[in-house]
Amino acid sequence: MMIMSAVDSTFFTLNEVGTLIWQAADGCTPLSDIVTRRICLEFEVDPDQAGRDAEQFVSDLSQHGILLVSEHPILPASPGAP
């Protein structure tokens, strides 16, 4: 999968694990759950290493404004909200 930053038009080509994280990042599921319940089940990876790599990955994307990292769930805006 390839994604493009709307901020600076930077492209990111994602591997299979990156694609899984991107698609699972719904604003509610913690990254640790994505790692343990998806990545570790679908790929042969060391859980600790997978966790570190996932954190680095989302950090890189967030620095380009592609992904928002939050300590709390990010609720979708309600219809009609400003």
């Binding site: 390839m2 709307a6 901020v7 930077t10 492209f11 990111f12 080509t13 994602l14 591997n15 890189d60």
Partner: protein, 269 residues
Amino acid sequence: MSPASQLDAVAIEIGGMAIALHTQDPRFRALLENRYAGFIKTPRNPQFEFEVELFEPAETMRADEDVQVRLERGEWLLRRGDFQARWDAKAGRGRIRQSRNPYAIDSVLRIVHTLILARQGGFLVHAASAIRGGRAFLFAGVSGGGKTTISRLAPSDATLLTDEISYVRRDGDAYRACGTPFAGELARVGENLSAPLSTLFLLEKGLENRIEPVAEAEAVRLLLRNILFFAEDSELVNLVFRSACEFVQRIPVRRLIFVPDERVWAIIR
């Protein structure tokens, strides 16, 4: 193009394809001339022309809106949060409405070139490329895979075409790689040169420098993962798929496993 209309135009030639951008705003013309230095041509006979209308930041549309590219009543519609464009490919003319953000015009140019190349057997690909010894080499890989690193390590006798977006043109039964002004992390515009394409390397950082063969089906799959294409158009998507298959049949695709230091360039040939 009439001499009068040349006055408000900046022509940007990438891959031998000149696109003239007309704008009444001298500051924006200066921005274009600076951003695309090395790719600016006299706007005498461009293949394509766009009128550019700028809107103020206060009017900015949704910044996180996905890019949309579709054909509607014979015109291509290109849209993202910071631009809207219409382009009649047959007439060679179009109109862009965008913010002053230079990334917006970058994106429009990239999209237009992907549409042009799709019918010519070429494509834009998320890859670095360089010329060495009269031949061009492509370096593709996932983000973090080494495109910037391999570009930074290029020896003095290699000419960097881009560290971010490579331009691949069909040239009879062969292909040429052309320089682009689309820079990545190196923030260095490529040279406006081209050369016959020799090899596509798929990058992978490792503990030693070595080159491995890649099976044809795998090569097509990995090449497709890196090709830029935005249009929701089944005909063109099929053409791009066919172009990727034909490319892999004609150009060697190899996996380049490398240690990130300059010695890697000793095995690139």
